[in-house]
Symmetry: C2
Subunit: 344 residues, 2 copies
């Protein structure tokens, strides 16, 4: 079903629009009291991820509450390792972690991949169907997945880390192991995204959250080729690539068959546009900390960003919105974008 | 006293050399068994920082053991907040933290600054004198300080953080408070570096470890002007600016009166040189994870880096060496540089 408000998809396809669409990374989350009420009633974060009715409910909340131009399915990038046979747990303060990690060729050999892995996530596809029913075509629904390098990083390291030393140690000097794992992750992500699209998402976003831990040569060896494979395998809907900290790879992303590049807040809008050329569309990139400021300053910096990007832009933050951001300030950001007009 | 091996200083001054000098950030530390032996005999990390004979001993260790071309005084960037009246503690796994943090104008008013603060660190100046006595002029001695934004980040946040949200909240919407704190930090850092130079350091390096948490506009407002003040106040010795993650500010650093720019491992050597022009010298930037590889790969990537930078380069890693790096691999990195010849 084609959404009524299709601003996001029109910008992704390179069409002209009257104003930029706006949504926020992590908009379905702790910034909303409705989300916190549901979350607090549950023993475990994963119950929310794995119960379609609940995932659908929190996905729709920011559309109802904030009037954003897109919904993004509530989920976690770590469902893919889990589907491959490496379950994760979510600890309240510590964040995600893996009781078992990938250490050897036999660990990798034991992992499922491709359609066999993707088939183990029926709760995601059902959540998509329920979300679209609840949205009844108001806005497009975004589905996401972790990029292969970022998923490898978690699967090898076992948890978040400032340096991901264990994961990076797998890259040198015997890269064959890493490439084998990256291939299995890639085939799983592709099959997963195909099923998400079949279930009804209108655009998919890849999160390469740990891109900035690799230098340019390592990124071009261990991350980009797999992102390219995914982009090439997904002609059905627009693809957004958001690789945090990979400022050096912007020209590489522009050469991918992707429709949108997500930018973190260290990227200058005008400079990024000139590095990329006319296409693809750019998404981002206000510093999420600006939303701790007052409404005047938020509106000023938001309008400045919109001016600097110009057309071909999807308004967002340069990172997920921080959970303790005042809701009124998020609303101010969204409304500033919605009241903006190109050439106005 | 002019050091016998003055390669580092000649490159910093823009003179021709036969090969790049080499040292490693965090070379005085856990990679050395001699360091670990001393550290394990002490109850607290701060005893090592605050006891001149011990600080001098661990500073000289990597010169004896690895044959690096410079020593860097063992210390901590957080001695400055402590001297200003905000003591820190070092927890074994958690890292540094502050029992009290800066919250208000009156907290800032209560801080010492400038010479009055710097005078409270006699153990640092004494460690410099003892280090130079032990080095007897073999290699130059580097002194360092935290850059003002990074010190503010710790003083307001109270500890390390992925996002430093509290610190960034001080920047908007009432920047006057942040600027007042940054001014007091800056005057303290300048007075501190003056006393370090008087005591005998041959070059000073500023660490802006949390530079990448700010976007370009915020960095140019809250970080760069204070780094400039420090560079302008220190004509006596060369100054190195190392701002991790501030890839967007490379041209700004090149316009400072500094002699060396440190680069993290995400910066392409040849591209960085072309952005900067002929001067200043560049320092860095091998990914520290490469040192977990084998000797063949370490030598290959090190030589590649030296080729890519060309002259006007100080060989180093793009980040502090990780504590669990095999010593033989560090030695391989150092020796690869020492066996390299320009035009050879």
């Amino acid at each position: 079903m084609k959404p009524v408000n299709d601003l996001l998809l029109r910008v992704a396809r390179g069409e002209e629009v009257e104003r930029p669409p706006v949504w926020l990374m992590r908009q379905a989350g702790r910034i909303l009291p409705q989300y916190r009420a549901i979350r607090e009633s549950l023993s475990d974060f994963k119950v929310l991820v794995e119960t379609p009715a609940l995932a659908a409910e929190v996905t729709v909340q920011p559309v109802d509450e904030l009037g954003v131009d897109a919904a993004i399915l509530f989920s976690d990038i770590l469902v893919i390792p889990q589907a491959m046979g490496l379950p994760y747990e979510m600890a309240e303060k510590r964040g995600p972690w893996f009781p078992d990690t990938i250490r050897s060729a036999s660990d990798i050999a034991a992992l499922l991949e491709g359609e066999e892995a993707a088939a183990r996530l029926p709760f995601v596809y059902e959540a998509i169907r329920q979300t679209n029913a609840a949205l009844s075509g108001r806005v497009p629904l975004i589905g996401f997945a972790g990029a292969p390098w970022t998923l490898l990083a978690y699967m090898v390291e076992g948890q978040g880390s400032k340096t991901f030393t264990k994961a990076k140690q797998m890259l040198f000097p015997e890269p064959a192991l890493a490439h084998h794992l990256l291939e299995k992750i890639t085939s799983s992500v592709i099959a997963y995204l195909k099923l998400k699209i079949e279930a009804g998402v209108h655009l998919v976003q890849l999160f390469d959250s740990w891109a900035g831990l690799l230098g340019p040569e390592a990124y071009r060896t261990f991350a980009l080729p797999y992102i390219r494979q995914i982009c090439e395998a997904i002609p059905e809907v627009p693809v957004t690539v958001f690789a945090k900290g990979a400022w050096f790879a912007l020209e590489d992303f522009a050469a991918l068959p992707c429709q949108v590049i997500g930018l973190d807040w260290t990227m200058d809008p005008a400079q990024s546009r000139s590095r990329v050329g006319e296409r693809p569309a750019l998404q981002g990139n206000l510093d999420p900390c600006v939303l701790f400021s007052n409404e005047e300053e938020i509106a000023r910096q938001t309008r400045q960003m919109l001016d600097d990007f110009g057309p071909g832009h999807i308004a967002n933050l340069g990172h997920g919105v921080y959970p303790d951001t005042p809701l009124e300030n998020v609303r101010c950001f969204v409304n500033t974008v919605k009241n903006y007009r190109y050439g106005g």
